[in-house]
C-alpha cells in the first residue's frame, strides 16, 4: 500500500472496485513484462556465452587473456604504471579547464586589441581538433627534447601532460564556446542595462551560465582525457598500458591488458554515471519537473 493510498484512506476515500481491477491488471502486465524480460536476457546472453565457450579457440583464448597467475603477476607493475596515469590526469584536468576557458572567452571577445589572440585561438582549436592526439603526443614528446632548448622541460611527464592539455584544451574550448553562444542574448542586454562593462558581463553573467550548461559534455571530455593518458605509453614512460604491453610481450600473455582495462573502468564508470545523473538533473530542471 503506497503512502498515497494511505493518505487517500485518511481522507475517507476508498478506490472503487473498478479502480482496484485496473490496478490489478496493470500490476499483472508489469509482472508479465518483467518475466519476459528476464527470459529474453537469459536466452540471449546464454547464447552469446555458448558461442564463446564452444568456439574452437576458447581454451587458448582463456589461457591467454584470463590467466589468474599472470593477473597476479602483472598487477603490481600495472598498478605502479597506473599511478602515473592518475598523476597526469590530476595535473592535466584543471589546466585544461583554465586554458580552455581563456581560449573560449578569447574567441567571443570583441575588443580590437585582442584580434591577434582571436586569430591564434581560432587556428589553435582547428589545428588541435584535427590532429590525432597520439600524433601530438609523439611530436611534442619526441620533438621537444630534440630541439635541446634551455628552460623547456625535458621530463616526459610534463611533455606528455602538456600535449594532452593542448589536445583537450581545443575540444573543451569548443564545448565552452558552444555554451557561451547558447546563453540567451537578453542576458547580455540585461547585464548592459545594469551598467556592467562587456568584460564584466562575460565573466560575471554569461560565463557562469555557459559552464552550467556545458557540464555534461565537459564531463564526457574529462572521462575521455582520463582514458587518453594511456597515449603517453608511446613516449616510453612506465604507465599502465606500457606496463601491460611489456608483460604481454615478455610472458606471451595478455591478461595484463585485462588488469589495465579494469583499472581504467574503476575510474571511468563512476564518472560516466555521474555525467548521466548531471545530464538528467539538468533536463529535469530545464523542463521544470
Amino acid at each position: 500500500m503506497s503512502t498515497e493510498a494511505v493518505a487517500d484512506a485518511d481522507r475517507g476515500w476508498t478506490p472503487s472496485p473498478h479502480q482496484l481491477q485496473r490496478a490489478r491488471i496493470a500490476a499483472s502486465m508489469r509482472r508479465r513484462r518483467a518475466v519476459l524480460a528476464t527470459v529474453v536476457t537469459i536466452v540471449v546472453l546464454g547464447a552469446v556465452l555458448a558461442v564463446f565457450l564452444t568456439s574452437p579457440g576458447w581454451p587458448a583464448f582463456r589461457d591467454y587473456f584470463l590467466s589468474w597467475s599472470d593477473f597476479k603477476g602483472a598487477f603490481p607493475s600495472v598498478s605502479r604504471g597506473f599511478w602515473f596515469n592518475i598523476r597526469v590526469f590530476l595535473v592535466a584536468e584543471p589546466c585544461v579547464l583554465v586554458f580552455a576557458s581563456l581560449v573560449a572567452v578569447c574567441r567571443q571577445s570583441r575588443s580590437p586589441w585582442l584580434a591577434p589572440l582571436r586569430l591564434v585561438s581560432v587556428v589553435y582549436t582547428d589545428l588541435f581538433r584535427g590532429i590525432p592526439s597520439i600524433v601530438v603526443v609523439v611530436i611534442i614528446g619526441v620533438g621537444t627534447p630534440a630541439l635541446q632548448l634551455n628552460g623547456v622541460p625535458t621530463s616526459l611527464f610534463w611533455l606528455g601532460t602538456i600535449s594532452l592539455i593542448l589536445c583537450y584544451g581545443a575540444y573543451v574550448a569548443e564545448v565552452l564556446r558552444a555554451g557561451i553562444l547558447a546563453v540567451h542574448p537578453t542576458q547580455w542586454s540585461s547585464a548592459e542595462a545594469l551598467g556592467l562593462s562587456r568584460t564584466q558581463a562575460m565573466w560575471r553573467v554569461i560565463f557562469p551560465q555557459a559552464v552550467r550548461r556545458s557540464v555534461p559534455p565537459l564531463m564526457n571530455d574529462l572521462v575521455s582525457l582520463q582514458k587518453d593518458t594511456a597515449l603517453l605509453s608511446t613516449l616510453g614512460v612506465w604507465e599502465a598500458l606500457r606496463a601491460a604491453s611489456d608483460w604481454q610481450g615478455y610472458h606471451f600473455n595478455g591478461t595484463s591488458l585485462l588488469v589495465t582495462a579494469l583499472y581504467f573502468l574503476v575510474i571511468a564508470v563512476p564518472l560516466t554515471r555521474l555525467t548521466d545523473w548531471l545530464m538528467l538533473r539538468q533536463i529535469r530542471r530545464e523542463q521544470g519537473r
Binding site: L36, A47, V51, S55, Y64, V142, G236, S245
Partner: protein, 298 residues
C-alpha cells in the same frame, strides 16, 4: 502489444538458435580438419608422426609449395639490411634462407610477410610458417608458442655517450644512470635484475625510439643485445658500447611457430645440420661483428 512481444520472443529464440548452430558448425569443421593450429596445451611438443618426411611436398605449410617467413617492420641491422628481409643480407635474413635451402626450397620459394612482434605469438591462426625476429626462448613463452632450437646466443650490452663512459664501466656506476631498453625484452630484465638502477628505466617500442632518446639525453645508457648495440653505437657519433653483462644463463634466439606446428621438427633438423657443418658460425662471422673485446661489466 502482445503480438509484438511474442514475435520478438520468436526472433530472440531464432537468433540464439542460429548462434548456437553457428558455433556447432565451427566445432564440426575443426573436428574434421583436425588442425592443431589452436591446439590446447595438452602436448608440449609437436606431433612427430606427421613429420616423418621432411621433403618440401610433405611439409605442413601456410601456403603450399612456399615457405612463408615473418619478421617485424622495420627490420633492423645487423639482423637485416636496408629494411628488406628478402635480399638475403643481414644475419637473420641469411639464416632464414639457409634454413629454407636446407629444407629444399629455392630462394624464390621464400615469401616474407610483415608481422609486428606483439601479434606474432597471440592465440589463433598464423599467417606465416615461422617468425624470425630476435625472439628469446623462455620456458614460459614456450607454453604459448612453439620455438625451434636456438640459432644464436645473445649477450646483453650497454651503449652510452662518451661522457658517461666511465660510469657505465661498472655495474655500481650504472645504478646512477638513467637507462632505457626496448619493451618486453630480456634487456629490460637485465636492467632490473643485474643493475637495479635508482631511477625507473624508460621503455621503448623500437630501437629507433631508444636511439633518439639516447641522442637527446633522455637516457644515459641503452641496453640491448650485443650485435644491435654495436650497430647502434656505430650510428651515433660519440657513443660506445661500454660493456656487456655476464651471462649466467645464456639466452638464445629461436624461430617462432604457432603452438604445436609440426613443421618445427624438420626446421630443427635443418638447424642442427647448419650448426654441425659450420654454416651458422660462418654467417655469424659474416654479418655480426666480433665483440669479444667488449669488457664484461662487474
Amino acid at each position: 502489444m502482445r503480438l509484438r512481444s511474442s514475435a520478438a520472443l520468436v526472433a530472440v529464440v531464432l537468433t540464439a538458435a542460429s548462434l548456437a548452430a553457428c558455433s556447432a558448425k565451427n566445432d564440426s569443421a575443426t573436428d574434421a580438419g583436425g588442425s592443431a593450429s589452436t591446439g590446447s596445451a595438452s602436448t608440449g611438443s609437436a606431433s612427430s608422426a606427421s613429420a616423418a618426411s621432411c621433403a618440401p611436398a610433405d611439409l605442413h605449410l601456410y601456403s603450399p609449395g612456399k615457405l612463408t617467413v615473418a619478421t617485424d617492420s622495420p627490420a633492423y641491422a645487423p639482423w637485416f639490411k636496408k629494411d628488406d628481409p628478402s635480399n638475403g643480407q643481414g644475419f637473420e635474413s641469411a639464416v632464414a634462407y639457409a634454413v629454407a635451402k636446407q629444407l629444399g626450397f629455392s630462394a624464390d620459394q621464400v615469401t616474407w610477410t610483415k608481422q609486428a612482434f606483439n601479434t606474432s605469438y597471440t592465440p589463433g591462426a598464423k599467417k606465416f610458417d615461422f617468425d624470425i625476429n630476435q625472439i628469446s626462448i623462455t620456458p614460459e613463452r614456450a607454453k604459448v608458442a612453439t620455438f625451434s632450437d636456438g640459432y644464436y646466443t645473445a649477450d646483453q650490452a650497454v651503449i652510452t655517450l662518451d661522457k658517461n663512459k666511465d660510469k657505465a664501466s661498472s655495474l655500481a656506476g650504472l645504478k646512477s644512470l638513467k637507462l632505457g631498453a626496448e619493451t618486453a625484452t630480456t634487456s629490460l630484465t637485465a636492467i632490473r635484475d643485474d643493475v637495479q638502477p635508482s631511477s625507473q628505466p624508460l621503455v621503448f617500442d623500437t630501437d629507433d625510439q631508444a636511439k633518439q632518446a639516447l641522442l637527446h639525453g633522455q637516457i644515459d645508457g641503452l641496453v640491448t643485445d650485443l650485435p644491435s648495440a654495436d650497430y647502434i653505437s656505430s650510428e651515433i657519433k660519440g657513443s660506445t658500447v661500454a660493456g656487456r653483462f655476464s651471462n649466467s644463463e645464456p639466452e638464445e634466439f629461436g624461430l617462432l611457430f604457432a603452438k604445436g606446428n609440426p613443421l618445427v621438427t624438420c626446421v630443427d633438423q635443418a638447424l642442427a645440420t647448419l650448426k654441425s657443418n659450420g654454416t651458422l658460425d660462418q654467417l655469424q662471422q659474416q654479418w655480426l661483428a666480433n665483440m669479444e673485446s667488449v669488457p664484461v661489466l662487474k
